[in-house]
């Protein structure tokens, strides 16, 4: 709890011009898996978030989730729940935590962690099947913020 409010405070300062990206290894989740503070101190861009969610090489969220607002993009999966209206019943902090590392919210979930760089078994170099040389998170800190911004636009229609 303390830590979260601390990061929140840092983020506030960051907003005031000390922008500092929180590295994946430094992210502190709340007991329930939330992340109160922005990972970059910058607001997310919902339009970019939308592209990231569709793109197979980025979030590829559509692989597992059905989202009516993205019906123009083909093939929505059914592995996870629909995200329609998610911005109405999940807070920004919950959504940021879920996108960064859903396992902190849903223990053992199949949903990948998008902002994580350690603790993997046989990490690969993209989709080559070869061993990873260095491990970058699937999404950057700002891309997480962009996705969260888009999710917040998904209100019950």
């Amino acid at each position: 709890m303390r830590l979260t409010s601390l990061t929140a405070a840092i983020a506030l300062m960051a907003g005031a011009g000390f922008a500092e990206t929180v590295a994946p290894s430094a992210v502190q989740f709340s007991e329930y898996g939330e992340l109160e503070a922005s990972l970059t101190g910058q607001p997310g861009d919902a339009a970019r978030g939308r592209d990231i969610m569709i793109s197979r090489g980025k979030g590829n969220c559509l692989a597992c989730h059905e989202i009516s607002a993205l019906k123009d993009a083909p093939f929505h999966g059914e592995v996870g729940p629909t995200l329609d209206g998610i911005g109405g019943y999940r807070s920004e902090a919950e959504l940021r935590g879920i996108v960064a590392n859903a396992k902190m919210t849903f223990e053992g979930t199949v949903m990948p962690a998008f902002y994580k760089t350690s603790g993997f078994t046989r990490p690969g170099d993209g989709y080559t099947g070869k061993a990873a040389k260095e491990i970058a998170p699937i999404l950057s800190a700002q891309e997480i913020e962009d996705v969260v911004a888009f999710l917040l636009t998904l209100q019950e229609s």
């Binding site: 197979r56 083909p74 078994t121 989709y127 699937i138």
Partner: protein
């Protein structure tokens, strides 16, 4: 029937075809052999929560399913014919072919149903391809074939086709128990940057779509598989490799000890389903 029409309408309304699970068509081969494509799960699967094992055939479109019902439509059979040519072709220092020792391919009936299998003399667990290579090296004086490569897969398909309709029945106890456990461990290990295991997709989510792919139970009773996607026969280990790669992981190699163990474990999850190889998939 009524129910089906209703779901069809519902699917149309729902835009993308959320077909939801396995269909209830039946697979009859060449109008003759009735295939067991759904059956009670073997006892060792009690802890998985899966009580019925289902062939991957049920998760494919009607058009793809149709191709497997008739040997004249099944493009995999072209490679079986090529395998038969290889079967009869002399190779190596001993001047022998497979046919010199085994006569016709009918002698291979039941082989695909029971492999991977323990070889007592060699003291090792062997896949069909390993056994074939053992014959090549030690009886024919020929070079072993590369794992899952064209010729090896053609001959494996020829051998599999001799068991079509027979129930898969691999042993999991005795000398292979340790390999079976190792394979099981691999099946449940979440690999790669996406941290997914075979079970994440094929146990927890079969019947669901993942993007455009309709997830099956990942059964291997239909291997080798002719895939419309790459228009060739695909081996079990190559499929495993592709699935592991898709978790953004460092894969194992076809023919590796890990994939041999995984093959035994996955094959044991098909105990009771008919051998279908060569099957047709997308």
């Amino acid at each position: 029937m009524k129910f089906k029409a209703l779901t069809a309408i519902a699917a149309l309304l729902a835009a993308p075809a959320f077909a939801g699970g396995a269909d209830d068509d039946t697979l009859v081969l060449n109008g003759e052999i009735e295939m067991t494509t759904k059956v009670a799960a073997p006892a060792h699967m009690a802890e998985t929560g899966i009580d019925e094992i289902i062939s991957g055939w049920h998760f494919r479109s009607d058009e793809t399913q149709q191709l497997q019902t008739d040997d004249f439509e099944n493009q995999g059979m072209i490679f079986v014919d090529q395998g038969l040519e290889t079967w009869q072709t002399v190779d190596g220092s001993e001047g022998k072919s497979c046919a010199s020792c085994h006569e016709g391919p009918e002698s291979m009936e039941g082989v695909a149903a029971s492999y991977p299998k323990w070889n007592e003399e060699a003291g090792e667990l062997r896949t069909v391809q390993m056994q074939v290579n053992d014959c090549r090296e030690n009886r024919m004086g020929a070079k072993p074939w590369k794992y899952d490569a064209g010729v090896a897969i053609n001959v494996e398909a020829l051998i599999a086709s001799q068991s079509r309709g027979m129930p898969v029945n691999v042993a999991i106890d005795g000398p292979v128990a340790a390999a079976w456990e190792a394979g099981k461990e691999l099946y449940y290990t979440r690999t790669g940057i996406l941290e997914l295991s075979c079970a994440s997709c094929h146990e927890e989510n079969y019947g669901n779509y993942i993007r455009a792919d309709h997830l099956s139970q990942g059964q291997i009773n239909g291997f080798p598989t002719y895939r419309l996607k790459n228009a060739k026969l695909n081996g079990v280990h190559s499929r495993f490799k592709g699935c592991v790669r898709d978790t953004r992981a460092e894969t194992y190699s076809p023919g590796s000890e890990e994939f041999i163990a995984l093959e035994l474990y996955v094959k044991s999850r098909a105990n009771g389903l008919s051998v279908e190889g060569p099957s047709v998939r997308n």
